[in-house]
């Protein structure tokens, strides 16, 4: 390569000041476009039903909490608490079950010979690729036979199976950051599994465990298909409750938006709080 003069170099590579300003502006425009539907959802949730359904949109309409009052059953008397509690129960219990199964499994996979590890890891991942809908009917018939239709504990088991492969892959990647000598030393010392868990793994991978728990919680909280098919009035979850908010007559936009905000709030809060770990989790630990 021939040497190039300093001014020529400044003109290439990094964009100049004007290009930079333009790109910054573009980045902001993109950001605003992506967040706009979320912002609109929040704003609409704070409008009255009549102000929510205008064309052009009434941006400056007076704010009201009526939408949220409706969400809490002001006129219908249908409380959102049972479905919210069902969702929380299903998400929290399934996440705990997943962690109890995934952490020992990931530990075993981290100290085992490579060949077998691959097979097991790929078995877990392959279950994630099988379309859940294909197993839905037998699960439904099975639940019917056993009388566990509309039972939140059945959802806990299914959500655990839905998230376990993700959790094993994630925990494996977090454990890969622990020096293998430490794990092997613990294994050779003959420390019992609970001791190894408590003394070595949990302290050394607690941020990873938190990230894994968060992702499992989000996926369980969001799930609709299983909940819709396998639950009814008793064990219905928040997403199922939300689909019931749309009525064929009358205005419902503000209260649907209020419900959408209320139900998304735990996920938004958890996701923003753990932005940094989100990538590693979502990529099953392949991206650090």
């Amino acid at each position: 390569m021939t040497a190039i003069s300093a001014p020529a170099r400044a003109g290439r590579g990094m964009p100049g000041r004007h290009g930079g300003t333009l790109l910054t502006l573009l980045a902001w425009v993109v950001g605003v476009l992506f967040v706009a539907p979320v912002a609109w959802m929040v704003l609409t949730s704070l409008h009255s039903e009549s102000a929510a359904a205008t064309n052009p949109p009434s941006l400056a309409a007076p704010l009201t909490l009526d939408g949220y009052r409706e969400f809490f059953g002001a006129s219908t008397g249908a409380s959102p608490w049972p479905p919210l509690i069902n969702s929380a129960t299903a998400s929290v219990l399934s996440t705990i079950l997943v962690l109890l199964l995934a952490i020992p499994a990931a530990y075993a996979l981290s100290i085992k010979p490579v060949r077998k590890t691959h097979d097991v890891l790929f078995f877990f991942l392959s279950t994630k690729m099988l379309p859940v809908v294909a197993g839905l009917l037998p699960l439904y018939l099975f639940a019917q036979k056993l009388g566990v239709l509309d039972n939140i504990n059945f959802l806990v088991l299914l959500y655990a199976s839905m998230n376990l492969p993700i959790a094993v892959w994630m925990m494996r990647s977090f454990l890969a950051e622990v020096p293998v000598e430490v794990l092997e030393a613990a294994a050779i010392d003959g420390a019992s599994l609970p001791t190894v868990m408590r003394r070595v793994i949990v302290p050394m991978t607690s941020p990873g465990i938190a990230a894994t728990a968060l992702i499992c919680f989000i996926f369980s909280w969001n799930e609709l298909l299983f909940a819709r098919v396998l639950t009814g009035v008793v064990a219905g979850t928040a997403p199922v409750f939300l689909t019931g908010f749309v009525t064929s007559q009358g205005l419902f936009l503000a209260k649907v938006c209020a419900a959408a905000v209320a139900i998304s709030l735990p996920v938004l809060a958890a996701g923003f709080a753990a932005q940094d770990k989100l990538v590693q989790g979502l990529s099953l630990g392949a991206v650090k």
Partner: protein, 287 residues
């Protein structure tokens, strides 16, 4: 053997139902005729494979998945490149772009259908009215988005939710790019395009593959958006929705299971290819 509980649990909860699906797919079993249950041979498969609705839903599933994954990847790449520079408010913009991914999917679908795409009071037509009024153009076009462009409406909502996912993975890829090589190339006179084409893109390849793979796993199975935005009407019924329908509306367990088995076989073919991708990534990673 600390691995055993997880393995046993996984086999019991995920593999047993698929075996049951396989058995039921060979049976004559309609919930409306509980006295007429028996062996049906391959007739369910024959019915399902010759059913035009199912064949069209196979095509819809492929189209939906490919369009959503490709567009989200390209948009995600563009946004990741925009955010890979330091500028004022970078963290804020990043948070703004991530927000769509953190809205509960069924809530996002409801908001798209009613608050954005509704022909009378949706935000998009509202902005059109407002723009036309400001520009003095007279009556603004007010298309009924979901009726005229049903599949694109579903795709738009999904692309909006999945672009942040792709962006996050690609941004992580960009930040792991060795900066000294890029600097050396720039010093040697490579322009921005050449750096992107010959250094950045090859480095991002595994991240692009990973994003495409994970995105496909989730979008192939999408139920929420199709169920909420179009209820599977207007040619948007994908396989998960069609099977859900066969099972609920038609009560034909045998046919629903046969459809399920076909989906599983198709998925195994695709997954086999996908797993090979992950396997190669794993080998690169070392341990």
């Amino acid at each position: 053997m600390p691995l055993l509980p997880a393995l046993v649990f996984m086999i019991a909860v995920t593999q047993a139902p698929f075996l049951a699906t396989l058995v039921i797919s060979f049976m004559r079993w309609n919930a409306l005729y509980p006295d007429d249950i028996g062996f049906a041979g391959l007739s369910n498969f024959a019915t399902v494979l010759t059913d035009p609705a199912l064949r069209s839903s196979v095509w819809t599933t492929v189209l939906l998945t490919v369009v959503v994954v490709l567009v989200s990847l390209l948009l995600g790449l563009a946004i990741a490149l925009l955010l890979d520079r330091s500028f004022r408010g970078r963290g804020v913009v990043r948070t703004m772009v991530i927000a769509p991914f953190l809205v509960v999917p069924v809530a996002a679908a409801l908001v798209w259908k009613h608050a954005l795409l509704n022909p009378e009071y949706g935000l998009i037509n509202g902005v059109l009215t407002w723009l036309w009024r400001v520009l003095g153009l007279g009556a603004a076009p007010q298309p009924d988005w979901v009726s005229t462009l049903p599949l694109i409406s579903v795709e738009a909502a999904l692309i909006w939710q999945w672009t942040p996912f792709m962006m996050l993975i690609l941004l992580a890829g960009l930040s792991s790019r060795p900066t000294d090589v890029v600097e050396a190339a720039t010093v040697d006179g490579a322009n921005a395009w050449a750096v992107f084409r010959y250094l950045t893109l090859p480095h991002l390849r595994r991240y692009l593959e990973l994003g495409a793979l994970l995105g496909s796993i989730y979008i192939v199975q999408n139920f929420d958006a199709v169920f909420t935005i179009t209820s599977g009407g207007l040619g948007t019924a994908n396989l998960p929705y069609t099977i859900y329908q066969t099972f609920f509306a038609a009560h034909d367990y045998g046919q629903a299971s046969a459809a399920g088995v076909i989906v599983v076989i198709a998925t195994i073919v695709i997954a086999n290819f996908a797993l090979r991708t992950v396997s190669s990534l794993l080998k690169e990673e070392g341990r």
